[in-house]
Amino acid sequence: MAQGITELISQLTQQVVSAAWGLFLLTWSLGWILRGAPIPFLRVKRAGQDLVEDAVWAAFWLAVGSTIFAAVSYIANTISSSVTGVG
């Protein structure tokens, strides 16, 4: 049963990750469209700028996700070994 649950969750994760990559292209291009639109509304252009920045940042976090998890487990292991070595 647990096998089924972990599979289900990892499938969900894969879907979320692929949807996020798809959204990256959409958000990024939408951001540039708004930014480069020939309309003199500063708020619209600011929104476009925000979208582009968000997309780039999120793509960064998406790409380094597994690295961050590896770093977290490394830190946890270091703490574990130092604690149990003393205790």
Binding site: T13, A20, D54, G65, A76
Partner: protein, 508 residues
Amino acid sequence: MLVSQLLAIATQLAVLTYYTGVLIYMLPIPLKRLKRLAPHLMVDGLYAALLIGLFSTLLYVSDYIGSLSGYTLMDVLVTTQGYFRGVLELYYMKKMYELLMSAIPIGKPSLAISIIFIPLMVVYTFIVSASLSLLSIVLSVINLKAELMALGVALYAVPLRLARSAGASLIAFALVVNAALPFFPHWMKMILSSVGLSEKELFWENETLTTYPTPSLHPFWGRVTDSLGDAPKYAVVAVENSTTVILYQTNRQGYYAASNPAPSTGTYDIYVDYMGLKITEPPLMRVRVPADLEPTYEATILPYRFDIKLSSIVKFLEPQAILWTNCAIEDAEHYIAPDGDRIVHSNVLKCTFMISPELHAMMGLPSACRLRSFLIQPPSVGGVTRATLEQRDWHGLQVDVYSIVGLVNLTKIENGGFTLRIDYDCPRNYVPYQPLGVSSLEPDSLYAQVTAELEKSVEKADMMNIIPFGIAFSLSVFSFLTIVMLIVRDTARLIGAYSPSIVIEPLR
């Protein structure tokens, strides 16, 4: 096992939480309120991953704090059960008196007995409710602390903080109660001395209890495998130091539990004793208990794990046999074919890395099986020059130990290796032999010991002090539990309410 399954689920959930955060970050909707969720989700995922990584350590620290009290959870369990049994006997005594008195044919003596027993019965109710509250909590923590904590971590990792407070509460409960309950005897002594009862009248000073599981015993478990991951069937794991040798038996999957008796603190030589061969490869494992063991809580009452992975020159064979040679076995194939009432086992082993041209091999095979052939292939590489047979007794099983010497022409070896082909046949109904009898991973006898201790502790109960004792006992139980639950609540808030949001703060 339940704990590792829950932790696997928690890990997946943590990853999902993180990527859900990234997805929300990515959404092309310029809503600040929605976007503010994203970094929270990402941090939650990482925080849950940190908790999963520190799972064993947190329980270990909690155990350590508890052990500072000088008592164990088992002490609390046994003594509380002793009180409970004591009051049950009191109740039984009252019933017996009533029965005896009802035989007297004058007036209503049973009524008089009931009136005499009123204060005792009030105290009886106190002790029953207090000891049952304590027992339920102690038992759940002793048996389920790792499971409760793993479930807490899994709930904690659910995306969007759906079950976060429930998870944090479970984690806090397991950790705090496990650390705090061993201090209960000190609390109770304090309250009892305030009502004028001396410590000597208490079970906590019962010398039979202090000999029961002390922190210096370290039960552990693990799995025996060869370098290709195959496990022996019912091997013997010997844990030996200068004064004692303790033998444990693995099960069919190679798992063993060093728990009954558990080794105490010290340095031990650990080796595998299988089919008449004592395998000291890799060269005799010298293990410091518990420093070299890996703390883990996959099996609840066996807090340490030590896996024995043998080097590549040892190979466990079907159905119950072993080959120990001087070349590295890189790959193994096993075929079976029926032959009348016997089954022919053919093993094709790929052998590499030989320094000397002489091949030495020791093979342990039950006497019920017959070795048919032992070949070096291809024949141009070499052949067996000498084979001797010795019969040995392996914990009551007749074993044939073959010593085989062969000659290999190292210049003719192709692709860095050659093949050993070993054929033998065994009876169709061969049942793997259990050298030490029934094996089990869980030490069931633990509770039998507890019950035996209980019998002794009840005998020492002093019924004369029962009224002040009963009041003080229930008072100390309920006050102690109140304090512990306050700490649990605050710890749960600490785990669940604050997240280290300084890790990622990309939003302005």
